[in-house]
Subunit: 291 residues, 2 copies
């Protein structure tokens, strides 16, 4: 694995461990820590930091937000895995949160993370960051977490199960359920780093493209992978009667679109002279996963 | 009913209706609106406004926060009522959220409210309020919503079911599950209104006292009331093997403590020359409910 990526991953995990204490009542903090500190790729917080670094050096300013985004990611996984939703038993190669802590604590751990994450942004962002920037980041964070963001995607996903899904609906699901969680760290990194509004918009397009690419790769993996390589139960989408990119567009078309999105994403980074080998590396990694 | 209280209630419901749109996906916004716009007492947002008015006149500054607190209250009720938690079928005289929308949407509607509420504070608070004050309010809001606030209370409540509970544990549950949601609006009103730190602390004591009084009254009502007057299924605590104030201290002692808390709370308002007949009225109303 890329050394820089590995260093970032360790930094983020160390910070997450530091931010979420072992408090009382024990079960709720253990449940939060179980999911947040499990072995994830940390791709979203890494994106936030690396985009920030295109514009600014003092990464202390982005770390709390980057970690908050990873907490939000963990929250959405805990709730999505619940029996009343996607009913998943495995996640990141381990039993899902409710399998260990029960449904009540898992539900509450998600809630706790959803309020803890923006608090970390408020409490831990250095005072060098202007207050109105912090409020803008919080607003975008909450927008992504809510009914106009990932929840919209999850709702339509659940309500589409077992139904004939058209391309527009599939697009809506992917846009919100997955791409919104790439848009958030990329925009947060750009905003906190001091990008111009034009640059923020350009990077937003980059984020949407890699977000969609990530989902297509995930859909392909779900059909072709094993529990071991995937870390979660494969084939679940088919069993649940869920529409995926390959089922609607076919495997070849899915792979072609994925490849094209990766090329377009890399082109945005290259043409704007953003100096980041790591952003290119991460982008290409999305496609490499399915090989 | 007190005319002023009625006017406040109508104002808050009107604002809540305005803040939560009828969006897409339809089910999630309908589910949010179902719980938030149901016929509640609105006691928490009213407290926020009335405490604010002790110090300042322009109530536009407190209304978004007051409404956000009511949304948080609705969120906690939706999740607490879920089958995996308290498994309640009725709330405010109507079927609970998951009974109408199903568990998945109810869970997501709670999540959506938890991110929507602080967004309302960010987006709707007039620019006359300094940014650092908004950040302080957000921090207190999220602290109350999270694992150090109402979630701590709910976790210990759930984990104590069917067990012998000591007074310290019962106190912890009441403090966080109930009193925190009185502390928040009172402190928010004081902070936004421009109270001194000393006044904020004094009013925090008032809030804790009426919060505990409210919970004792609720416990008494749960054992003596009907579904019609209570709006939710009575006797649930006993059936679930939950410790309540009267079961641990006895009915007489519970009523005595309740009365004493009401007197102490009124005394705080009176001795500090806070001019609010409504705060006295609301405080006394807590005790009147059980008569």
């Amino acid at each position: 694995m890329n050394k820089k990526l590995q260093n970032y991953k360790e930094l983020i995990t160390k910070k997450l461990d530091e931010y979420i204490p072992k408090g009382y009542p024990k079960s709720i903090f253990e449940s939060m820590r179980y999911s947040v500190l499990s072995d994830g790729k940390r791709i979203r917080p890494i994106l936030a930091i690396e985009v920030f670094k295109l514009f600014s050096e003092n990464i202390e300013e982005i770390i709390p937000t980057a970690c908050a985004i990873e907490m939000l990611h963990a929250q959405s996984l805990i709730h999505d895995d619940l029996p009343c939703m996607d009913n998943d038993d495995f996640r990141r190669g381990k039993p899902t949160n409710h399998k260990i802590f029960g449904e009540a604590i898992a539900t509450l751990a998600g809630d706790a993370l959803l309020s803890f994450a923006p608090q970390i942004i408020i409490q831990k962002t250095p005072s060098s960051v202007p207050k109105d920037k912090i409020l803008r980041i919080l607003d975008e964070f909450l927008q992504t977490a809510g009914a106009y963001g990932i929840i919209a995607g999850q709702v339509v996903d659940i309500e589409s199960e077992g139904k004939e899904v058209d391309k527009a609906t599939l697009n809506f699901i992917h846009k919100h359920k997955t791409a919104d969680m790439f848009k958030l760290p990329v925009r947060a990194g750009a905003i906190l780093g001091g990008a111009t509004e034009e640059q923020i918009e350009e990077l937003t397009i980059f984020a949407k493209k890699i977000g969609l690419a990530f989902q297509i790769a995930d859909d392909i993996l779900d059909e072709t992978s094993t529990l071991e390589t995937l870390g979660k139960t494969p084939g679940k989408d088919k069993i649940a009667g869920k529409a995926t990119y390959p089922t609607i567009y076919g495997f070849n078309e899915a792979k072609k679109t994925l490849h094209s999105l990766i090329e377009q994403s890399c082109a945005i980074i290259e043409k704007s002279n953003y100096k980041s080998d790591l952003l290119i590396y991460i982008t290409k990694l999305i496609e490499t996963r399915i090989r």
